[in-house]
Amino acid sequence: MINLETPKKFRMLVEQAHQVAREIFRPNSRRYDLAEHEYPKELDMLGALLDGMNAGGGSEGAGAAGVRRDKLDSDGNRNGSNMSTALGAMELCWGDVGFLLTMPRQGLGNSAIASVASDEQLKRFEGRWAAMAITEPHCGSDSAAIRTTATLDGDHYVLNGDKIFVTSGERADLVVVWATLDRHAGRAAIKSFVVEKGTPGFELVRLEHKLGIRASDTAQFALRDCRVPKENLLGEPTINVEKGFAGVMQTFDNTRPLVAAMGVGLARACLDETRRILGEAGVEVDYDRPALVQSAAVAEMLRMEADYEAARLLTLQAAWMADNRKPNSLQASMAKAKAGRSCVDIALKCVELCGSVGYGESELLEKWARDAKILDIFEGTQQIQLLIVARRLLGKTSSELH
């Protein structure tokens, strides 16, 4: 039976996440936006709380972990951990995107491990905070072009290269590093390796100063003859041209709806706040009356709410499909594309509608407008998502349409 309301069984989780966002994230937002690179220690306690929630069952997680696809326990419809994770992320990012990104043990590396690690690795890396290192100075979206090399030497791989834009790179215990076993073998040779902090030859070069999400640290690393135990390779060690990139890219199918959810949460924060501020100025939306006979501000609000709702439902659709083991690559990219561009558009428009109140640092709207932009860039830019969607719809390969 078609129903697009938030499932009843997750309403408690949503409420809890909302309280965390309201009581812990929001009151600290401005402080760590101003004090970039300072560790938000308020999050430590919260990390422990989330660990507890995650341990309490796969379907109750609120953060960025647990995107491994659960087994269907019945033939029927399932609302599982992909949906609860998306709903949790929406609420937490209604509070602060930067804090969600720097939640202890909720890094993208954790998602990668949860998605593709063996049972032995899962156990060995349990409880550790894992960041993800893909991007290099000369390549971003074209992740098949990475130059960091991994060479097998006895029981170790020797890693050499440079990695930038590593979210939580300084704070995490582990970094999942993408490297190629053979630079001439293309995508199939790219593997991911779990590198422990403190491994000789693995060096933090610097932290970036950013437009937004300043509570989250973004690190650059140098790998110089860095020796990693060979059992730290995630997935198959062989170069399998048939399977190609699938192993490492699988993570993205699972994390795209999550990043879309972040954009949805941020967009709602902007809309809620703008509705409040405009309400004080005497502007109310009458949903039954045509926008054209109301004020221009109302018409803008309606347009933004429409984009917000489309992004939100696309995100829930992608998560729902993952929960029900339906292939969702197309829908995941649709959600990421729509949420990424909509949250930027909405955040910037809300600042405009609220005037200097929106632009000034006394409110958080200007911060959200700065935070929003990264959501249309990382985990696949707008343009990459459009390419993926277009290829799927048109039935084109990446060599035909690029």
């Binding site: 697009l4 499932p7 039954d288 045509p290 439902l313 696309l314 729902w320 719809l393």
Partner: protein
Amino acid sequence: MSLTSNAMGLGLRALNRLAGLPLVDKLGLRRTTERAMYTGARVGFRAAGAVGRSFKATQTLLKPARLAGAPSRSLFDLTPDDDQVMLREAVLSYAQEQLRPAAAAADAATSAPDELLTAAAELGIAQLGIPESLGGAGAQRNAVTNVLIAEAMAQGDLSLAVACLAPSAVSNALVLWGNPEQQATYLPAFAGEHTPGAALAILEPQPLFDPLALRARARAVGGGFVLDGVKSLVPRAASAELFIIAAELEGRGPALFLVESSSAGLSIEAEPAMGLRAASTARVHLQGVQLPATALIADADAQVYRDCLNLGRLGWCALSVGTAQAALDYVIPYVNERTAFGEPISHRQSVAFAVANIGIELEGMRLTTLRAASRAEQGLAFSQQTAVARRLCIEKGVQIGSDAVQLLGGHGFVKEHPVERWYRDLRAAGVVEGVLLV
């Protein structure tokens, strides 16, 4: 026929004379004169409403027959149930096999062929919305099913879908809000074999039309009502036997009235437009139309009127979704087959991204529409969700229509391809209120 050709003949003679007069330019009359000439030639004359059957109550109901509310649901679910899948497939094949091939000719003729309308009636869609106690086949409230049906039908052709679905807006309204007497008088006809032509008329010919501030007026006179006003873009009005007409009831606010087409003072004037042509749109003029007290629906309840508006808007959303889907399905093979500079044009990002964006926005339109409809049938508030879906469908629907023509280039602009018709029809969703009711 002779009347129109005479009118046109007179008009041409007059035009010929007027056109040469310097006085016309001096007085600044040329534009108005030209427009008056055009309208006169195009629209022709007003006719009385269709003389239909006489509606009489054939049974006595003690209480109104309503469909049961759909059960509330606890899980998020995008899977239609088995009945919905079956119905959608039936309607989709009807749309693709019968509506699509007939669409261009119906557009040119500004009318839908009778055999198509009969075939549509045989699908039994109207009966699904009528309770079993009144001879229908409906058991529970089914706004989502109605959305799926409208969407599937519009994949064949939007205008023909409007022509087919318009009568069920009237029967749906009677099921939702009619009193026992109104139901017993009118609904059995809709459940029968020869369903009457009927239309739900809310729109008026005003810029910035606001359905909550109607110009049509109803005055309470001697135990009944007297109706005055003009309704715009009413589908198949000339052959309708029954209307539901929205008018401002003095002192009470906007309300819905049952008006039989044979009423004195009611006249129909063809109103062909940019699109919706197969639905034979017309203006309905009401001059001192006298109605019995029983004509008023739901005692002018304000919430009923707003629900009626919103259920109509969801119908237009569903039509937009179906038409946009048709456009997407049409442009994909075209851009893959069309070559330029030695390769398919779909290998260019500017083309490929336009297709991707159609896909993305279409999916958003579909999901927002389904959510509002699902809330409506579960008895939850759905006004905000409808406004959001409508906004999206109006804006993105028109963009998709425009992009579809653009992707075909000059070929999109000529009538050899259906995209120019979708371009015209998709604009209607932002203009029309009422007409449908899911």
